[in-house]
């Protein structure tokens, strides 16, 4: 459990971080072909800016959108556009994609120039640079970072929180970034502070990463406005609102964002990406992911080009160790199972976890009303009752019991001794409510 601040509720799943947490980040050699999806973020999908047979440079913008909430995408290798076609997104739906055949020349785009000294950049410039670099939240949600940095004028931001919890089991990419590139995280944090025009930042790190805490404390020592906060080991410590409460004690009211409380939360990986693109001018075309689980021969932390296919990444990890039953994009608590290994890594992919067996039961038993789901819920809901209403078709009652306030962390399903599909039913219920509301308004 450890010491440190935390939130109420939550669970303690075994971390399995030891598989990779002491392994240095390795760079994956760029694959022969990358698939850059036009939707790698929350918000409007990009339109392709290139067509078949076009020659593209590494770092060249190949997709963009006019949408207020969106982020451009860039070529992660130099080469020839093989196709512009629809492809399966890790989340299961199909989106447009630019398929690039790597010519191996690593030809950099001429537009790529370092931004210059942080002190010489003003607020607006930093936000624009971050947008143009296509930076989104690397923790998994992939919310465009520049949008977070541009709050409406009436919302006064006072605090920046850098999320270094990495509470999902197996994942260690953020951990390694903090240990190996602490100065990058700090540089990115300073850039974010500057972009927000504030001078108070906390870096929250779970106590199971003492080396990361030490490294970050050392790197932040010269900066009085950045403070490292050790947090208890608990899932979902890295959930945005839970993290805000753990660090500041503030509760984000329902229907509001941390922004409404004057707080902006960014992931450590995002901070490092901001630093990298400001320093070199290179947009977000690669990221660190953790490849782990007993189903891969060589669990490790890899720096992979965005658009690298799952099969290529697994190949680098020496392939499967036995017969895989589940290939999960993301961590085991919230990740999405894959059936097609040609799915590419996107900006929001924190890792790939492979299991050789099912670690969850497939047949639910009768609920014994033990209340474990209630105790575990970090949103203080009564999952069992909400699910009863959802399953019974009583959506109004489900909403009255807080259906829409579920943060989809999966803690309830994790603890349920009867193996009931709680978060799964809640998700369905949320979709149904959303569908009903859309129908009403249209």
């Amino acid at each position: 459990m450890g010491k440190g601040k935390t939130f109420k509720g939550g669970i303690h799943p075994p971390g399995h971080k030891e598989l990779t947490n002491s392994k240095s980040i390795r760079r994956m050699s760029p694959p022969e072909e990358v698939v850059v999806l036009m939707q790698q973020h929350i918000g409007a999908a990009c339109q392709p800016l290139v067509k078949r047979r076009d020659v593209v440079n590494k770092g060249q913008k190949i997709g963009d959108s006019d949408g207020a909430i969106s982020a451009p995408v860039h070529a992660s290798v130099s080469g020839v556009v093989k196709a512009v076609e629809s492809w399966v997104h890790p989340n299961g739906y199909k989106v447009q994609a630019v398929v690039i055949e790597n010519d191996g020349e690593e030809r950099l785009d001429p537009d790529i120039v370092p931004a210059g000294d942080l002190e010489s950049l003003d607020k607006g410039t930093i936000v624009d640079l971050i947008r143009e670099a296509g930076i989104v939240g690397l923790g998994g949600a992939a919310f465009p970072t520049h949008v977070k940095l541009s709050p409406p004028p009436h919302k006064k931001i006072h605090t920046l929180i850098i999320n270094g919890c990495e509470c999902e089991p197996y994942l260690t990419c953020d951990h390694r970034v903090m240990v190996e590139q602490p100065e990058k995280v700090v540089y990115g944090t300073r850039a974010l502070l500057r972009a927000l025009g504030i001078n108070k930042a906390f870096i929250g790190i779970e106590a199971n990463k003492p080396d990361a805490i030490t490294a970050m404390e050392k790197a932040t020592a010269p900066y009085a406005d950045i403070q490292v906060v050790p947090l208890q080991i608990k899932y979902p410590q890295g959930a945005e609102k839970q993290l805000v409460t753990a660090i500041t004690g503030q509760v984000v009211p329902e229907g509001c964002l941390p922004m409404d409380c004057g707080i902006v939360v960014n992931n450590v990986g995002t901070a490092a990406a901001v630093a990298a693109s400001l320093k070199t001018g290179m947009p977000l075309i690669e990221r660190v992911i953790t490849v782990s689980g007993e189903g891969v021969k060589e669990p490790q932390n890899l720096l992979v080009p965005v658009g690298a296919k799952l099969s290529d990444v697994l190949q680098v990890s020496q392939g499967f160790n036995g017969t895989p039953r589940k290939v999960i994009m993301g961590g085991p608590m919230t990740g999405v199972t894959q059936f097609d290994l040609s799915v590419p890594v996107v900006k929001g992919t924190p890792g790939i976890v492979v299991f050789n067996d099912l670690k969850t039961a497939t047949k639910p038993e009768a609920c014994i009303r033990c209340g474990r789901c209630v105790d575990a819920c970090p949103a203080f809901l009564v999952p069992v009752n909400i699910v009863q209403y959802v399953d019974g078709g009583q959506l109004d009652a489900a909403v009255e019991w807080g259906l829409l306030n579920c943060i989809e962390c999966g803690s309830c399903s994790y603890v349920c001794p009867a193996n009931r599909f709680l978060v799964q039913s809640i998700l369905l219920g949320k979709q149904e409510v959303q569908a009903a509301r859309n129908k009403q308004t249209s």
């Binding site: 799943p13 984000v252 017969t323 589940k326 999960i328 969850t360 306030n405 978060v423």
Partner: protein
């Protein structure tokens, strides 16, 4: 979809698609049930020490009756058989713990059948029953066989003939089978005063009549019965040196009817007469602490229940320790009132449940005709559980009052 470099050993992979989460903790319904069974072992040990093999047999017979009933019921209804989840064994053991050691076996079997059918399966089985099945079984037995259900034997360890245990047990069994008359018989053997005999006889008659009547009227009957028993006991005490241990009032009855207090130490150890598993507070505490430690029960219920009883006894000028240790309160607080299925799911609701049960218990103990009220206090609160849950929904994270 484009061809991708196939991984060498992927050919026969059957990848499973499922919604997150993809891991779960190791606890299961049956592991919880077996945990509860383990927690009952100290109390079972204590009852075997005090009441010898009689106790063990009663537990085994009742548990088997419950498991078999569940099996037959589920088979008849064409439902999946769930006897291995351990919940039927838990119900059976708990029911046995709530029976007098002298109860005829066939009555225990009837209690088990009622507990599993009326208490559990008519509502749809595990998780759907509103009332604690073991207590439903017990309440039924108390209504149907009031005398047998309030005929007590003194612990074997208490008697002058402690060494002749099997003889004592056998005697107890024989005596108990003729339940309606045993009280009177015992009273007679004791050569008590005519007043006592008269009281016993009239009480016994009323008990016999009432055996056929419904649960509603049984409380009054039981009061009469317990009076009979205690009258008999008085006789028993005077004759204790002569015969053995057949009939003995519970400490609560002694207190209520005769104003005789039993020593704390005897109560704590359980060296008193009473239901099988309820006498030893020590053994129950060991099991209860294990349950709390394993997170199988919520400490709020026993603390709320016992706390309320203690507070009310103090307010009423009674001895709280006596109220805690005597009767079935300890067993009820740790094992019966904490049944997950029939108690509120919310933390606040669990406080409410414990406190409510404590109030009802004290009302019954202080003003009711019945010396004991654990069963009814818990059953009543079971009935309130849905209501309590509705009023104790926790405020969710960031909840904003609807019309604030």
């Amino acid at each position: 979809m484009q061809d991708s470099a196939m991984l060498p050993d992927l050919t026969d992979a059957r990848l499973v698609i499922s919604s997150a989460p993809h891991i779960s903790d190791q606890e299961s319904v049956s592991s919880i049930m077996y945990g509860v069974i383990i927690a009952m072992l100290p109390a079972l040990g204590a009852s075997m020490y005090f009441f010898r093999t009689r106790a063990l047999w009663l537990v085994i017979v009742t548990a088997c009756a419950c498991v078999l009933t569940e099996y037959v019921f589920q088979k008849l209804r064409g439902k999946p058989v769930t006897i291995y989840d351990g919940s039927a064994v838990v119900t059976g053991m708990l029911l046995a713990f709530n029976l007098p050691p002298t109860l005829p076996m066939w009555m225990a079997v009837v209690g088990g059948i009622v507990a599993m059918t009326l208490g559990k399966h008519v509502f749809g089985g595990l998780g759907s029953n509103p009332f604690n099945p073991a207590l439903v079984g017990r309440a039924f037995l108390a209504a149907a066989f009031p005398t047998a259900m309030t005929s007590w034997m003194s612990p074997v360890t208490n008697t002058a003939m402690a060494t002749a245990t099997s003889a004592a047990t056998a005697a107890a069994t024989t005596a108990a089978t003729s339940a309606a008359t045993s009280a009177a018989t015992a009273a007679a053997t004791s050569a008590a005063t005519s007043a006592a005999t008269a009281a016993a006889t009239s009480a016994a008659t009323s008990a016999a009549t009432a055996a056929a009547t419904s649960a509603a009227t049984s409380a009054a009957t039981s009061a009469a019965t317990s009076m009979a028993t205690s009258a008999a006991t008085l006789g028993g005490i005077s004759a204790a040196t002569a015969v053995d241990t057949i009939s003995m009032a519970t400490p609560l009855a002694l207190m209520k009817v005769e104003g005789v207090a039993t020593s704390y130490w005897q109560l704590f150890l359980g060296n008193v007469s009473g239901c099988l598993g309820e006498t030893s507070a020590l053994a129950i505490l060991i099991g209860g602490i294990y349950l709390i430690y394993k997170n199988y029960i919520d400490w709020r219920i026993p603390v709320g229940y016992l706390g309320t009883v203690g507070l009310l006894s103090l307010l009423m000028g009674q001895d709280p320790v006596f109220h805690w240790l005597a009767g079935g309160l300890m067993l009820g607080a740790f094992f019966m009132a904490t049944d997950m299925v029939t108690t509120p799911i919310t933390r606040k609701g669990r406080w409410a449940f414990g406190i409510g049960a404590g109030i009802i218990l004290m009302v019954i103990r202080l003003w009711g005709a019945y010396p004991e009220g654990v069963t009814f206090s818990i059953l009543l609160m079971n009935g309130f559980t849905p209501l309590i849950e509705r009023f104790t929904r926790p405020r969710w994270y960031g909840e904003v009052e609807a019309n604030a």
